[in-house]
Amino acid sequence: MRRFIKMIMLDIRAMSIAGFVPMVMVAILTVYGIFMYKSAPDELAKNFVNTVLYFSQRLLPPLASWWIIMSFHPYVEDEGAEVLFSCGYSRRLLGIGRVVTFLILFQVIIVISCAALVLFKVIGIYELFTFSLILFLQSCFYGCAGFLLVILERSGLWALASMLLLIYMNIWGGIPVISKYFSVTVELDRGLSIGSVWMKLMSLAILSCLFMYIGQKLFDKYRYKSLRVKSS
């Protein structure tokens, strides 16, 4: 287990500056939310919080796929990725194991961010639970989708581009089906209740498991892409 954690840490180090993107984005949104809430007059404060919550719920879950896609980049794109496939390490740990670990890491950041919002009284303790759960399930969905995309597209860059497109469509609109089925947002006015979005969250959980399963099945049979073309 210690070795597995060490491998994950090396995966993040290998991403260099890009490895900090999820943390920086979460930190910016949290600090911005707290700052605006504290500096705004009371009647506007709720609006600001709703705006920050809106962007958090649309922007943060797709970010869960960032580390996952970046960590598979050496397997699908780097020179010498053949070496990785000649090693005896369990494909299940390299696939599902890594996806789950990165999802947990991402959730830790989300919970810290939510805890900061509670600490500064932007949201209450009950809302912290609801908000974390909504973000957690959506993050799982995008994380598993990222895993499946990077294996299907055989390209980390394309998978990231697809995710950026999803973020764009999530915020500014695009294909309605995305926001209708894969995006869950709640507002303070509605008391941050998960009752209204329960079914949507369940379908996201089921889809996450399905994506993870298909992604792993493909990864089990995966070969380095240059092996698919004629070789000498």
Partner: protein, 287 residues
């Protein structure tokens, strides 16, 4: 290690056609032109590519048991250069985890770093290394965990002469106590390092033997012709020119031919390169 009737097709192209190589041990070279099937064979032995037919066996171990095979092999592919942002030590630690090296990872990485002479670059990022150093890092990761079989695909191509020489010495040292399968199209490298050589041509094994045996094959078939015209080889039928040197006012042309190509041609001792060329051009010479 024995390879028996190994076949691999890419669509209609027969990349490997019933390859048989027996008793691979020490440093064994695979020599052949581009497209001969060297890389395909290497990849199959390294378990990153599936064979269509045939068997590979090492002692009691069959290549059908991929998981066990992966524990006894180390592989350096033709292109190696990943994790550019990690240091040499970090890449090796990462690889040691992936290879499930049982011993202490730190001491194991230190050992291979010193073996490939990269001590002063241990904390340098991979992206800052020269081509030769990256290749040495590639060898270091391949020998992590002391594999019984080391597979190295064209490790010396693209290296400067000094790095090439250093690499040859390194491979010779590593090959002293394990099987090293090494592919190249640089005949000098094979002559310098390998105990035995297999010549591949268009997916077929032309011959397996020591360098001397391959040279012996072309004995009596190499001719030296002194001529004023450097193109003399092109004018004669059924010969393959192997070398051309200026000598005084004329030229000395070395050529492969089944019989004496002209009256002033004299028979000379073949080199390994000529032995190799004879094997792959035999049909043209006979024609």
């Amino acid at each position: 290690m024995n390879i028996d009737n190994l076949c691999k097709n890419y669509g209609k192209l027969k990349a490997l056609d019933h390859i048989c190589i027996e008793n691979i041990k020490g440093v064994h070279g695979l020599v052949g032109e581009n497209g001969a099937g060297k890389t395909t064979l290497m990849r199959i032995i390294a378990t990153v590519l599936d064979k269509d037919d045939g068997q590979i066996i090492h002692g009691d171990l069959s290549w059908n048991d991929t998981a066990k095979v992966r524990r006894i092999i180390g592989y350096l592919p033709q292109k190696f250069g990943m994790y550019h942002k990690l240091t040499v030590r970090e890449v090796l630690e990462h690889m040691a985890i992936l290879k499930e090296v049982n011993r202490d990872i730190r001491s194991e990485t230190d050992k291979v770093i010193s073996l490939v002479n990269l001590e002063d670059k241990a904390e340098a990022k991979v992206g800052s290394l020269s081509g030769g150093m990256v290749r040495r890092l590639g060898i270091a990761q391949a020998i992590l965990g002391d594999p019984e079989i080391l597979i190295v695909d064209e490790p010396t191509s693209g290296l400067d002469p000094e790095e090439r020489m250093r690499f040859r010495l390194l491979l010779r040292d590593i090959g002293a106590d394990r099987t090293v399968l090494f592919s190249t199209h640089i005949i000098d490298d094979a002559e310098d390092i390998c105990d035995r050589v297999t010549v591949l041509h268009k997916g077929h094994v032309m011959m397996t033997g020591t360098c001397d045996e391959i040279i012996k094959n072309a004995k009596g078939k190499v001719w030296e012709i002194a001529a004023p015209d450097p193109q003399v080889g092109d004018k004669l039928k059924n010969i393959i020119t192997t070398d051309r040197k200026k000598s005084g006012k004329g030229y000395i042309v070395r050529a492969l031919s089944e019989d004496q190509p002209c009256s002033d041609a004299k028979s000379v001792e073949p080199s390994l390169e000529e032995g190799y060329l004879y094997l792959i051009h035999r049909e043209e010479i006979y024609a």
